[in-house]
Symmetry: C2
Subunit: 414 residues, 2 copies
Amino acid sequence: MDLTAMGKAAGQAKYALQKMSGEDRNRCLLAVAAALREQKEKILLANGEDVRKGEEKGMHPGLVDRLRLSDARIESMAEGLEEICKLDDPVGEVLERFTRPNGLELRKVRVPLGVIGIIYESRPNVTADAFGLCFKTGNAVILKGGSDALASNSAITQIIRESLGAQGICMDAVQLIASTDRAVTAEFMKMNRYVDVLIPRGGAGLIRSVVENSTVPVIETGTGNCHIYVDEDADIGMAVDIILNAKTQRIGVCNACESLVVHEAAEKELLPVLGEALKKKQVEIRGDRQVKKWIPDCTDATEEDYKTEYLDYILSVKTVSSVSEAITHINTHNTKHSEAIITGNKEHAEQFLKEVDAACVYVNASTRFTDGFEFGFGAEIGISTQKLHARGPMGLKELTSYKYIIQGNGQIRQ
Amino acid sequence: MDLTAMGKAAGQAKYALQKMSGEDRNRCLLAVAAALREQKEKILLANGEDVRKGEEKGMHPGLVDRLRLSDARIESMAEGLEEICKLDDPVGEVLERFTRPNGLELRKVRVPLGVIGIIYESRPNVTADAFGLCFKTGNAVILKGGSDALASNSAITQIIRESLGAQGICMDAVQLIASTDRAVTAEFMKMNRYVDVLIPRGGAGLIRSVVENSTVPVIETGTGNCHIYVDEDADIGMAVDIILNAKTQRIGVCNACESLVVHEAAEKELLPVLGEALKKKQVEIRGDRQVKKWIPDCTDATEEDYKTEYLDYILSVKTVSSVSEAITHINTHNTKHSEAIITGNKEHAEQFLKEVDAACVYVNASTRFTDGFEFGFGAEIGISTQKLHARGPMGLKELTSYKYIIQGNGQIRQ
């Protein structure tokens, strides 16, 4: 693996992409979508090999399912690229424009980031998705997928590269690090000279490893220990509906609710009803002493429970005696992802919105809406849980930077 | 040094700051400015100790000058805080507002970053400046200054903390890591749990060290290998004025011109005149063979020269035969800071603006304008040379993040 050569090639591709118009980039994406459809047998063959190897080494069935492609999943990869074409091109947007007293005219213009690195796990559809989002925004991309999906990712990347080449476009707009060697990944994370940003997509372990080992700027995504706080003035029926939705509509996602905080004045009305409803959905409840009063068969919650993103049919529950106590509990234990208050009290809502430290803070709605599509961005590369550059759902705009363009007529500095 | 305790204290201060109004923060800054004036003798005394130690160990006179404070410099620190008060408060600004078909009302609102870490070198005035910018934007700050300025930085920080305390404000809004132990700095750079962003301010070595060793997100600032390209259609008089300004008006700054690129059609008219003018300013010219034809006593430029930020009376010069060649040369050697084209040709200007990869790209103006004050931001924490979060001069807005505030009435996800 010659990563330096890949970095240089991406650097060349980056300039080639920046010279293309948004329409030209869309035309390319449509051709790539068609190529993926036409050559789906090649993808399925490679994927079959990955799946066979995974099963042989006893991979967890859930992971095998993530890895496995089908006609429908390839069709949805192709449709994904077509959907991306329909979105507005953010590149070139003038964000600000101002003139200085000395006559200098400044424009702050949206530009591609340059070269984006994506490190991801076993879902091979990310290969086409990530390429599509990066290409649409004029960025070259270097992909490092999971070793379990190497054959699938290689097949998909090859089809995309050949399609670009056939259209006379620089194939190195997308490159795959086709190695399973951890030292190569470690080197990739230190390629500051060639890579402008790294975006890890996957589980908490992968993300932590990228944050800890990368010297390239990273956008941290994903982990969500999301809370719902039911205030004293809550509509209890609404609270039950929202909690059931946020906990059980889909359990393995980062915007699912993992922890419930209940005002003591709402306990009596809420907890018995909620306990029954959650039990019907096979949700295990881990609560404090006060919770046990209303749901006697619940498990004792530990401090560790309050810190945990279960991604499972488990919910931790904590009781508090004020909105301030709820906010402190949430800010102490959350992962800055998504938090909700259920309340009819405007002042409490305002305080919660202002003081809770998270990318998305909700009043009277499910945390499950934290999603690029639900927000209307039409795309999503991930959900940022850090505060630099982008926070919350990241769509196309979040894959861009800006530059200042300054027009003068001979100005010099005094 | 108990960094964890400092991190926790900053975390508490962060919430306290976010509850304050912009007016309250301004009032505090004015009180701090007054306290710095009133207690200037204490600062001068501590600074005298730092200067004496520096001189004793043979510190370079230029560095001693950076370290030394005076009545005037303390006055300018106080005035700096007063100026910051006059700027608009960016916190709370609604950046976007939209309603989804399901009735969810979203607002994207500017919020403080949280806890900012600043690692800087020997100028003790950075202590007050950085505190002022962070405090104005509702951020807690942890400062790690150079060991040569420890007594000065400690005195300034103590005065600020006492002033905050006297006003009933959380003193831990500013904390100084009063240690000269490198292991402490190394630990500081890994405090992801408590610090949202690190901003290094200083020379290339310091910045590289922070980028390479930090796991906290970093905003890379400062290095500027800035180019001026004189096109075939340039106004030669304007070109000479701008080059002299960008090279010699102040040599030790990151937006000074370090390298000149000249179209072969402009050589004959430009180089002899420019050579004379630069010689009068004691600027050494390092050029290629073509440059030597017109400035026979110039030094031979090496590839290393074209990569170097001299911060000195030296200018590298390269000749090219097209604007495309100039752009390629610049993109290969620059540090993505500031680049200028001198031309009367609109198409060439457009191509240069679009294809040169830098934070600031100029037509017919000096690169020396890349500066938060010159851009009208009224403040500057540094000049970002990376593409994530902020690019170019960073003022108050660049010390903020955003959060999504979502108002619902019981929405759940289907």
